[in-house]
């Protein structure tokens, strides 16, 4: 699963020159990426629904005494591409993109009646090929059968059964790759004509004693509930609801542990570092700022556990099926919902997932909507703000109010994304025809523990990396901007600052820092929302990554009260104006901030990916613009509303 947590196109450095290249080609969800990972030792995203892989991934493996290049490709049912991800495969086969030396055709052994036609069309390209049969465990479990060696004779190419998780098949494949020169090819290419192809398929399968598997009984039972018009919807909402309760109930104590750790670290640092400014830097920028983001690791990890389970079980395809009608109201189709659901991790994989949509219009509409879905970067911001707003033990009936509000924020993101998608498709209504919607519904799988663990591990790692790179750099820069220029005692005296008070002096420095001037410069824009320059600077800096907002507040708070950052934030006062002396984070300001972060496109990586996927700056500019306008408006409305009722 996503190893590229908000970092598009992480590809390992591989030298291609002089090495043999093998491409993995097959129907969607046939286990290509799983096999690719087993062969290459990498961990590209896998999942039990069609359309997980949407771009080419490179890897390598040693066979015999040479190294070969492996290409994991998107899955496709057809070689008449109708979507960009399928086009990748067609380009590889037709040599538009450098053709591989050999092809590893990967087919799910439980669906051979369907996929042999695809195999036939691939073989007609006359590129040396072998066939790997996956899901042989499923075939056996469901009472099916295939004679691989008879199949091999009938097809004229080598056939290797390989079930995921078994070393034997992988070793056999490696050995076969080493014998590339002596691969057999079909005596006569399979027929092209549809009727003859059906006859060929029938003949080949009967020669291979193919016994198709029985329908999966477990899947039928689960679907009877999960796809039931009433129970299915109910179960879905209950599960989601429980999840958001868990985020606070389970993750919060873990978060406290991490906070305790940082407090301890801070005390140690304080004792060890005697240089004044360095001590301040460590406790404010590093521990308060960067550490303030890092404490959200448990929430992030939990979120990815849930995503891994959704993706690994086979529920994603069902979600697309259930939501297709709703999506159709927005002018889209079920697969667009998969993109939106993927955006819960991060908008970037969500935007990339639109490559599996046949219609260009649908792709654009989905891309415009995806950044509105609550991504994992918003999670720390929401949790912090909701924490400021509501007491931990406050309940509404049996429910934790913090969890309720968080659930509401996710709902808001989903609903507004759908609205935007609907508007976007309306605006480009000219080509009214719908391309076919079809979605394979794979049997349920128990998400493999190893896959879940590695997905969560990868995402947690990516989060830590993000925190220690972009967030750290931004925070350090911000610390400098907040603490400079330094003021001399004389200067402060002249300005009438009480030079006997440490707090007053640092407040003066802060208030006259470079950062303050930036924050004050944008004040006219945000003043109507009740934000002062300290919040503004948080918003401006969060353009680098949303979490920086948390780091900035953490930093400011740590400067005031390093031991109790949350209390410090709660105690922050409005500095001037009519409300001077009132708490800065009043309910109306928090409501405005929640709305602002829900709608604003505060993520430059997303802007970059939109540029890449649409090929122009036009769409990212539109997305950034409309989202800012909506964000401001919604924040203003929310603030006014809260002020009205409180």
């Amino acid at each position: 699963m996503s190893s590229s947590h908000c970092e598009p196109g992480t590809s390992t450095q591989i030298t291609l020159a002089g090495k043999r290249r093998f491409a993995l080609i097959g129907n969607p969800n046939s286990g290509k990426s799983t096999l690719f990972n087993a062969l290459s030792g990498l961990s590209v995203k896998t999942g039990n629904y069609p359309g997980v892989t949407v771009a080419k991934h490179l890897g390598q493996t040693r066979v015999g005494d040479s190294t070969v290049i492996l290409e994991d490709l998107p899955g496709t049912y057809s070689l008449d591409a109708i979507s960009p991800d399928e086009q990748v495969v067609v380009d590889v086969l037709s040599g538009v993109d450098e053709a591989p030396d050999g092809i590893i055709i990967v087919l799910d052994s439980t669906t051979l009646q369907r996929s042999l036609g695809f195999l036939a069309r691939v073989l007609r390209h006359n590129i040396p090929a072998i066939l790997v049969l996956t899901f042989t465990d499923d075939l056996q479990r469901r009472g099916g059968h295939i004679d691989a060696s008879a199949l091999s004779r009938a097809l004229g190419i080598r056939v290797i059964p390989a079930t995921s998780g078994e070393r034997q098949g992988v070793n056999k494949i490696k050995a076969t790759l080493a014998e590339f020169g002596s691969w057999e090819s079909p005596v006569i290419a399979p027929p092209a004509d549809a009727a003859q192809l059906t006859a060929w398929t029938e003949s080949v399968l009967s020669t291979a004693s193919y016994q198709p598997p029985e329908p999966d009984r477990r899947t039928a039972k689960i679907d009877a509930v999960l796809l039931h018009p009433v129970w299915g919807t109910l179960v879905f909402f209950i599960v989601m609801f429980a999840f958001f309760q868990t985020i606070f109930a389970v993750a919060a104590p873990m978060q406290e542990q991490i906070e305790v750790f940082f407090a301890w670290l801070g005390a140690k640092a304080d004792a060890a570092i005697t240089i004044g400014w360095l001590g301040a830097f460590v406790s404010e920028a590093l521990l308060g700022g960067v550490g303030g983001v890092l404490v959200f690791l448990p929430q992030i990890a939990l979120l990815f556990v849930m995503i891994a389970i959704l993706e690994g079980s086979g529920y994603m395809a069902r979600a697309a099926f259930l939501m297709d009608r709703v999506m159709a109201k927005a002018g889209l189709e079920g697969r667009a919902f998969v993109s939106l659901l993927s955006s819960v991790a991060c908008a970037i994989p969500g935007i990339m997932a639109t490559r599996s949509l046949p219609s260009a219009k649908d792709r654009l509409a989905t891309m415009m909507a995806a950044p509105l879905i609550t991504c994992s970067a918003r999670l720390p911001v929401y949790v912090l703000l909701i924490g400021l707003l509501v007491d931990p033990d406050e309940r509404f009936g049996p429910f934790n109010v913090r969890g309720l509000i968080l659930f509401g924020m996710y709902l808001l993101g989903a609903v507004s994304a759908m609205l935007v998608a609907a508007i976007a498709t309306r605006l480009s209504r000219r080509s009214g025809a719908l391309l076919p919607f079809y979605m394979e519904i794979p049997p349920y799988q128990v998400p493999k523990l190893q896959a879940v663990v590695s997905a969560v591990w990868a995402s947690a790692g990516a989060f830590v990396r993000k925190v220690t790179s972009i967030i750290m750099v931004t925070t350090i820069v911000l610390w400098l901007l907040l603490n400079f220029p330094q003021r001399s005692l004389a200067e402060m005296d002249a300005a009438g600052v009480d030079t006997s008070s440490e707090t007053a002096m640092s407040a003066y420095v802060l208030d006259n820092s470079y950062a303050a001037s930036v924050g004050k410069a944008v004040e006219p824009v945000f003043a109507p929302l009740g934000f002062d320059w300290r919040i503004n600077i948080g918003i401006v800096s969060s353009l680098a990554a949303r979490e920086v907002f948390v780091a900035t507040l953490g930093q400011v708070a740590a400067a005031e009260n390093p031991d109790e950052p949350l209390t410090a934030l709660q105690d922050m006062k409005v500095l001037n104006g009519p409300d001077k002396g009132d708490p800065l984070f009043s309910p109306s300001v928090i409501a405005a901030l929640l709305m602002f972060f829900a709608f604003a496109l505060q993520c430059m990586s997303t802007v970059g990916v939109l540029r890449r996927e649409t090929g122009s700056w036009r769409w990212p500019a539109i997305a950034f613009g409309y989202m800012f306008v909506v964000a401001w408006t919604m924040a203003f409305l929310a603030a006014s509303l809260v002020r009205l009722v409180t």
């Binding site: 060696s149 004229g156 057999e184 005596v187 006569i188």
Partner: protein, 175 residues
């Protein structure tokens, strides 16, 4: 095209010993077993043109020999279509029953196939020595010939596989 909704199910397979032969696997019992001497029209033309030189019919396959100057990869698709059409008219074939010849080819093919592979992987070998009536005589040599257990299972498997393709087989004997 889609008018021929039910095309007869066939596919080509190699014959290990000889690259000029293709074994077209067909539904069992479509044609009587033997050596064909007359073919229905589109297929007959290939013999007239000396593209194809000989044929043989086993229970669920038709063997066709191509002229050494021709190649299966170019002629194959056309032959396939002609064969499918010919199979739709089984009455128009003239086939001489000749169990011995058919059985010899089948037995040789089986020995060159997976069963033979097993024998060879054990350091042994098996060769066809003769076909008499419906009795196949096989000569085992090398490692296998000394191991009664292995030769027993192999012998059984060999017999089973040949019988699957040639139901008239009586038995396999070791020379």
């Amino acid at each position: 095209m889609s008018a021929t909704v039910t095309s007869i199910a066939i596919h080509p397979e190699r014959v290990a010993s000889n690259s000029s032969i293709i074994r077209w696997v067909i539904p069992a019992g479509t044609l009587p077993v033997g050596l064909p001497i007359g073919f229905p029209s589109p297929l007959a033309q290939f013999f007239t043109d000396r593209v194809l030189t000989a044929g043989l019919v086993e229970d669920s396959a038709v063997w066709l020999w191509i002229h050494p100057d021709e190649s299966w990869s170019t002629q194959g698709p056309a032959v396939r279509e002609a064969l499918v059409e010919a199979l739709a008219a089984p009455d128009h074939w003239v086939i001489e029953p000749c169990d011995d010849a058919v059985l010899r080819h089948v037995a040789q093919d089986v020995l060159a196939g997976p069963v033979g592979d097993v024998i060879r992987s054990h350091g042994g070998d098996a060769a066809l020595s003769s076909v008499n009536g419906n009795v196949v005589e096989v000569e085992f040599s090398g490692a296998c010939s000394h191991c009664p257990a292995i030769s027993f299972t192999l012998h059984n498997r060999l017999e089973k596989e040949i019988r699957a393709r040639h139901p008239h087989l009586e038995r396999v004997v070791s020379a």
